[in-house]
Amino acid sequence: MSDVTQEATATQTTGRQGPVKARSGGRTWARTGLLVIVLFWCLFPFFWLIMTSLKLGDRALNSPDLFQGPFGLDNYASVFEQNFHLNLRNSLAIAGMTTIICIVIGSLAGYALARLPMKRKILLLSGVLAVSLFPPVALVPPLYEAWRTLGLLNTWEGLYLPYTAFTLPLTIFILTAFYASIPRELEEAARVDGATPFQAFYKVIFPLAAPGVFAAAIIIFVTAWNEFLLANTFAPRNPEIAQTVPVAIAAFTGQVEFQRPVGIITAACVVVVIPMIIVALLFQRRIVAGLTSGGLKG
């Protein structure tokens, strides 16, 4: 920004276009060049991951040289022999349920907080903020006992219920911000035309908040998909039932006990990472808007 103006004034006053332009062009390149550091930091480990997942045989896998062959897809075949597709199914179902419940319940709450008259609104928001500070580990012993009594260990419900409770505060913050950003006049116009408050919500406001809802949905899905502590405690085994993707990736065993199978683990990681990278690239703007507008969570 400042460079452009500098350049403009320089050309105007001195009229010497050549050197000035060349210098600021060089600076532009230097600035772009710095981005390479950021790109390298974010992307290089994935290059390592993909190369390693394609290596075959102990000799290649145990070599630090990234280009030490032979290469092939056998590791990927082994991943699915260990029922990884069932883990993917469980994670999709659990993260999907979390997302649906959170969006439905959270958009109601977000709308109420952004728009409707309510007593003790600040107290409520503080309560929601406090729940977002809860450490999940505080739930591990009591929920384990409760789930054991209720028979919810090793079930989808046993995981998506706590996930919903934990992502709800974030959902409410994101959606409250989005609802609050929709002009109030639209609602009032709907009222004048004879809509009830509920009709004004679901016919006028909800559709307009769709981009925000979508951003929130992605963030909730990713959070639930990545969760490890509760998943590893409440459903540590059995891909056929409820073991999720992160638990499976942490638990892959090789032929020799106590030795982690590099090839299989990296291949499983690639299987998970590629679609997630695509989603991140496609919906980059929406995700960033969601993360920065309504509070945030790593």
């Binding site: 974010c42 480990p45 406090a130 990713v222 998970v272 990472v273 920065t292």
Partner: protein, 313 residues
């Protein structure tokens, strides 16, 4: 938060003549507000608040391998506070939190400044920066486990360190875990700070430049003060997250070599050596510590954190 009013499910019936009733036939706005907020509060109360209370009750009882023996009073807490393992895991958790959040802030700020001043390639970098955030922490942990591990020994090879055993000795194991966390979350911090940087008006820098301020002075006197809210919010959420750390040390070291975090310790007493009473005492202590730190941050941020969200936008 204990006094968060659990919205009463009453007055669900057709709205009577309420003061704020807008139309007959639909719900009044106040009733609608209660109806809309109720499911969220009920769910959070049942699955987040109730267990915390239940944990406290469990912690007052004595168990032998899940068999209830009797009332124990505060014995479990006395045991926990005299257990060296508890203090050891608390120490690791605090060291991890302070160093990783500090490093993430510095690197994240650097990245944000780099991205903010670039003309070209900003879009693609912002997309790339999301990638470490979006992947599961377990995958990051496995990736860095193998990169640090003696075989295949990628990092040792790059730096010519031979068979240096990063993950198999005290100190360096902690370093490896912190490094993996910094790799994964610095880009995320950068994203938050970049959003803050973009709200700073450019003419502030221009007038500072005409006044002869150099780059460092501009950073110190303009950027950082104006970035303060974004910095505080980022630090709050990163600190609370870091105090919960479980995935990285669990996968990279299994908690060996003094890398056992509070979360790992609590989880041990639930699954591996089950003791609901002692486990619940440890979880209650962790809860108090972590929530306490969070509340200190929130009170530093003031009410703007809560109120700003709803009124500004």
């Amino acid at each position: 938060m204990a006094d968060t009013p659990v919205a009463p499910a009453r007055s669900v019936e057709p709205a009577g003549p309420d003061q704020s009733s807008v139309r007959a036939g639909g719900f009044s706005e106040r009733t609608l507000a209660r109806l809309f907020i109720a499911p969220s509060i009920i769910l959070m109360a049942l699955v987040a608040l109730f267990p915390v209370v239940y944990a406290f009750i469990l912690s007052l009882n004595e168990y032998t391998r899940r068999q209830h023996v009797g009332f124990a009073g505060l014995q479990n807490y006395a045991d926990a506070l005299t257990d060296g393992r508890f203090w050891e895991s608390l120490r690791f958790t605090l060291v991890f939190t302070v160093t990783s959040v500090g490093a993430e802030f510095l690197i994240g700020l650097g990245f944000a400044l780099i991205m903010n001043q670039a003309f070209r390639g900003r879009g693609i970098t912002r997309a790339a920066i999301l990638i470490p955030w979006v992947i599961p922490t377990v995958i990051a942990a496995q990736m860095w486990f193998f990169m640090f591990n003696v075989t295949p020994g990628f990092i040792n090879n790059v730096f010519g360190l031979g068979n240096f055993n990063w993950l198999g000795q005290q100190g360096w194991a902690t370093f490896a875990v912190i490094f993996a966390d910094v790799w994964k979350t610095s880009p995320f911090v950068a994203l938050l700070l970049l959003a803050g940087l973009q709200t700073i008006p450019g003419d502030l820098y221009e007038s500072a430049m005409t006044d002869g301020a150099n780059a460092l002075q501009r950073l110190w006197y303009i950027t950082l003060p104006l970035l303060r809210p974004a910095i505080l919010v980022a630090l709050l959420f990163r600190t609370v997250e870091a105090l919960r750390v479980y995935d990285l040390p669990q996968v990279m070291t299994g908690g060996a070599f003094n890398t056992e975090s509070l979360s790992i310790l609590v989880q041990q007493y639930v699954v591996r050596t089950p003791n609901p009473g002692y486990g619940a005492a440890l979880s209650t202590l962790s809860f108090v510590i972590i929530l306490g730190v969070g509340l200190v941050f929130v009170s530093m941020l003031g009410r703007q954190l809560v109120i700003g969200r709803t009124t500004e936008r």
